[in-house]
């Protein structure tokens, strides 16, 4: 006998993601999911960003990592709420892990929640965490061909930061060409250029981010 099931397996993840999203909205917290390959500059961007904004906004971070807490340690100096998730080999964060981590955060004391995903240019694309915005940090040192090769990640991003722009000459990569490749895959994403180690390069990023935080705060009133 045949039984029709027709159930989307990803619903198990996505329904928790939807719950997380509703929770963030209710609490007027802007949740941002940072994805990239290992070493593209997620933690560095967080360091520079948090340093610039923490006098103005209340920041919390969920740090996803395979086994270590080294990234979380890099952020301890900012005296913010940080929750570490170790995936024990898992290649991405999922909505359930985030839902668990939120319980350890005093969310009423948060304007913006950064979620640093596991460094991986494939799997995190398929797992909604309930974030409002997905930010892909793409280091110029990865070359111009990866947007095509890992297109799912680029398609699902709201913002793409082309990072390590300071290294373009050394890496013999043309930044305009990279930007064109990204836009050919996703013409809706905001594409910005950054050098995460240099806070001066982050003006546009900070403006966008603060605009989003203000918008999420207003949505509560």
């Amino acid at each position: 006998m045949e039984i029709k099931v027709l159930k989307n397996v990803m619903i198990k993840n996505n329904s928790i993601g939807a719950d997380n999203r509703a929770f963030f909205r209710e609490k007027a917290v802007l949740a941002v999911n940072l994805v990239s390959s290992p070493g593209a500059g997620k933690t560095t961007l967080l360091e520079s960003t948090i340093d610039k904004m923490r006098s103005k906004y209340k920041v919390a971070v969920i740090e996803g990592d395979l086994y270590t807490s080294r990234d979380a340690e890099r952020l301890e100096k900012f005296n913010i709420q940080i929750v570490q998730i170790n995936t024990e080999g898992g290649c991405h964060l999922d909505a359930r892990m985030v839902s668990g981590a939120i319980k350890e955060i005093n969310i009423d004391d948060v304007d913006v929640l950064f979620i640093e995903n596991v460094g991986n240019l494939v799997c995190p694309a398929s797992f909604d965490l309930g974030e409002a915005k997905r930010i892909l940090i793409y280091s110029i040192a990865e070359g111009a061909d990866k947007p095509q090769k890992y297109s799912t990640m680029f398609k699902t991003a709201d913002v793409v930061l082309i990072n390590k722009v300071d290294l373009s000459t050394a890496c013999r990569v043309d930044v305009d060409h990279v930007e064109k490749e990204i836009r050919s895959i996703n013409d809706k994403a905001l594409v910005l250029r950054t050098t995460a180690v240099d806070p001066h390069s982050l003006r546009e990023w900070m403006m966008w981010l603060e605009g989003e935080i203000e918008r999420s705060k207003k949505s509560k009133d």
């Binding site: 619903i11 694309a125 799912t152």
Partner: protein
């Protein structure tokens, strides 16, 4: 690597459906049809490896696993065949 988790999710969906019809889980499943949707990031071989490990020794051990590709987003359990 997420194939392991998708295999787990799939199994729990199949169990939920079966328990509704056969609370004792005393029927053998002979076939499961999965539908792989866009963006096609689920690797069939890897998924099958984990799924087969999970169902070893169970009512689904001998089920034939069949795959279809569909346009919708996601990964689906489409249908089950259960012995009469």
């Amino acid at each position: 690597m997420h194939e392991a988790k998708i295999a787990e999710y799939s199994l729990s969906i199949i169990k939920e459906v079966l328990i509704e019809k056969y609370p004792l889980l005393d029927k053998k499943v002979t076939k499961v049809v999965f539908a792989i949707g866009r963006p096609y990031t689920v690797m069939r071989d890897s998924f099958e490896f984990y799924f087969s490990e999970l169902v070893k020794g169970s009512f689904m051990e001998d089920a034939e696993l069949v795959y279809e590709y569909v346009e919708q987003e996601g990964f689906y359990v489409s249908s089950l065949d259960v012995e009469e």
